[in-house]
Amino acid sequence: MRVPLSWLKEYVEITQSPQELAHTLTMAGLEVETLDYIGADWGDLIITAQITHLEKVPGSDHLSYTRINTGSGEIGVICGAPNIKEGDKVPLALPGARIGDLTIGVARKMGYVSEGMLCSPRELGLGSDHSGIYILDPETPLGVKLADLLSDVVLEFAIKAHRGDLSSIIGIAREVAALTHKPLRLPEPRFNEQGQPAAELVKVTVEDRELCPRYSARVISGVKIGPSPDWMARRLLMAGMRPINLIVDITNYVMLEVGQPLHAFDYDLVREHHIIVRRSRDGEEITTLDGVPRRLRNDMLLITDPQGPTAIAGVMGSAISEVNEGTTRILLESANFKPASIRRTAVALGLRTESSSRFEKGLDPELTIFGANRAAQLMAELAGGQVHPGIVDVYPQPVEARSILFSPAEVEWLTGLKVTSRQVHEALSALEFKVEEVSAAADAAGGEQLLRVTIPTFRGDIEEGADLVEEVLRMIGYDQLPATVPEGPLPEPQGDHWFEREYEIREILIGLGLHEILTYAMTSRQRMLNLLAEVNAQTAQVLLQKPADDGQAGWVIASAQERAGSEDDLASDGRKPFDARSLPAVTIANPLSNELECMRLTLLSGLMETLQENSKRNRAGLRLFEIGRRYLPRGAGELPEERRCAGLALCGPAAISWVPELARPADFYDLKGIVETLLERLHIRRYRFSAAQHPTFHPGRCAVLEVGRPGMDNGERFTPVGFLGEVHPLVQQRYDLPHRAYLCELDLETLYAAVPERLNYAPISRHQELTRDLAVVVDQQVPARAVQEAIERHGGELLRTVALFDVYTGTPIPPGKKSLTYTLLYQARDRTLTDAEANALQERIVAALGEEFGAVLRS
């Protein structure tokens, strides 16, 4: 809302500078967003002047030569504007003045000397009008700096949603008056009423009294439609509205001034002179003043006549009964509509107007008469109108001023600010609240001082004590609030530990050299499907997988069972072309773009895209992670399941380095090592990696990580936590990556379920350790994990640790075989182990490996 200071001053005396005033209002909650200084760039060389003589320039069809009285002399100016005549007072830019980027000089043209320039409103920054020279008021003195006469400051406010009463110059003036202890001067509309009473000229029927609490109408006849006077047009321009014609301008002017939206109908175009306020019927249509035909819904409120809609109530009129050049009689509407209805209608139609934005914040029904009278007065004064006696006023349930009992002590109770009853009294009175002291005994409220506060009808936002506390605080000043420390009791520990856990993971991964990224939680189905080497209904299922929590090893497809329709799609022929839309995901009904149409099902696409972005400018490799949520859809109307996850990505060498180990491109075991260290840091000891198939990954370079928990029957049950692997070459190509990439996604909720609740210290054995090395040759296909598990199983309690320290293929190992060398450490907790015992164990292990894997000792 733009408020010209000169206009504001009509209603309240302002002694503060514009900056001080803006500060005062801002502190009280009326934030002044900008101060717009009109005329600040005019300088001393744009002055008022008068045209004393005008002649056509021979040989030109539009130029005139004028003699101009500058107040201190006479000069000649050539001008091309069509709207000037002898006697007009005009703004004159003298040589040296600057208009925008142009510096005025002395020019010679067609035999004349031009010593200046006459200016249009647009050239002066007074609005957008450039159709002619800005003709000044005839009373304007000559030779005066234009800045002294017309410069102004416009304060721009963002009006909060609850204060419809502030959407007007008078509303702002009321706050200024209260805050600066000055009286508010309201205009008093005065005019003569004559002719036939309005009640005989117009009939108003309000069918929907809930949505239209009040409808007031006046009739004004004999108006002359023309341009508005300069002062009014200038105020409209500065307030951000475009002058149209005198009648429409008056309705807009009064709306800006008092806050009551008005609508002027051409009385003679309202059929049967009968206004009917009703809800729209389904399928009804109206073409609004902006020329757009609009189909209406049955909950929208309309202004109609017996033959059909003439306006969308409180939003916009139509051409049917619009004021036009031939209009002489005005039916003036000044009504009150229910805020929620206006808002719903405006939102549904995508049509937000000055009028609708005021109604939806809530307006005072008592304002309609004042608004109608103020407009009638201006139509009488400026348009030569004759105001017919009376107002047709349909107002079945007049609002009553509410009052609440308020204890001044509530201010300190809620804010800690000590105030006296007198201060409260003054603060509220300044805002036009009526305050009466109520004897304490009468209300039996423990003898405390009580006030009965009557709320002005324009303050619909005030409902209870806390609202009045805020009003008092605004008046006394937020800067008076003391600053203290909360002294109440601390709550019991509550909530989960996910915040700490996520930071624990962050710190570990950062320590392992990974950079944290943070990508959008919104993505698109297509972006996620890019992760799959081959896209079909079956491979797409991995995006919906989550760890089974029923204790079975394996994954379940999130919500596939609940989604009967998509289940069929997913289960049917996996070979037919896959329609991305059939991938279940949390879909955004109003996305910003197709790229952000749903919530992510995986962190991996964000990681791959970030690898892609950064690899363009990064010669060193990339090591990234993200901690965030996957959003797995549940049944219709249910919130999705948000699963906390960590995604890891490696691509290329750890660093540009002269050290070969660091300069080596990352491989599968780098990623796995990071995951293993993470597990170690979390004290998760029971886990296993197994070869796995996943459509994102290289078929021979992908593992699933499972963590173990004690299950029933002393057994152990393993739950999958996530996949890790080398990105399939087809997927790598799709993201244009220069190196092989490695990805891992871990379900943090499953991972943390495996973190031991407490750590138990096991006493360190003081008995001697015996070390034996063991080198065996097995088939290439035998997984190392199986060999290691067999060694552990057969080594039993006395085998303390097993560590693999060499993996070898090539001569002299036969083709298709590999050699694995372990170092085994034997130790008893309670005694010194003999060599013979260790040797026996070692032999038992060798025998078992021979039996299970056909392993032979390496000679």
Binding site: L30, A161, P339, T484, G488, G495, L512, H515
Partner: protein, 348 residues
Amino acid sequence: MIEQLDALLAQLDALQERALRELEAINSLAELEDWDVRYLGRHRGELKNFSTLIPKLGKAERPVIGQKINAVKEKLESALEARRQELRDRELREALERERLDVTLPGRALPAGHMHPISRTILEVARIFTRMGFQVVQGPEVETDYYNFQALNIPVDHPARDMQDTFWVVPGEILLRTQTSPMQIRVMQATRPPVRVIVPGKVFRHEAIDASHEAMFHQIEGLLVDERCTMADLKGSLARFAREMFGEDRRVRFRGSYFPFTEPSAEVDIDCILCKGSGCRLCKYSGWLEILGSGMVHPRVLREVGYDPRKYRGYAFGMGVERIAMLKYAIGEIRLFSGNDLRFLRQF
């Protein structure tokens, strides 16, 4: 015999002189061992050869020549030992010299990762408030209209919804939360006062993305409810936060505002961290920077969760993490946070 004796003594002197001269020229421990064998060798050493002559000498001459041999032997042995030590020292010196490293070559640094500035800022804010007895909780990012709006005194068709353009999942029912405030309701429904929580998390607004607007960003909500807290406590808590976050001499300013779920409401500014209040481009020449919105929990919100507003009071605040991080680290563009450019991330 005398002549023979003199000749022998002269030969021994010559031997000593020759041996010492040769020793002087020796440059390696191997040559030194040859020399040792040649002159002092137990079997064929030259000095040994003289010893074998002794029995052939007369009784009086034997001790003279024996003493002389011993003297020469001692002389040569000590010279040998000195020379050996000298050579060993030199060889060690040379070996060490050969092992000299270029200590200016870069070390084998383990790669170091970096925390995202948003995570870092959230952590810093959380630490400040946990020191004041707050606990950190989180909530769902996909929310219901009830928690995000209605329970917070923003009914359907309330114009305050304009302040927060919404991404809808099921229009009118399910949405991407536009603020972390819905957790106020969830927390209060789940517990009884006293309540002290902060809620960091992602929020979403349907806004065109530009240098200062993001469709996804982060907020931290704070909520304190008990039987004694006041707006002055809110001011004191936030002043302490501002000082810890932005520097000991920071001042805070409260000014009136409007949020549907607080009453009274206040916007909180700090004096400009760049110009200290004298006015600059960062603070748009006002001397103040807006950092968060706050207020006393609206009685309607308290009633909604079954708290008696005559008994309980509470304060709430909400800050934009990106805004705080931009001020703290002098970052000019909000899009950098979701851009994930490593050149940006490595600086934190």
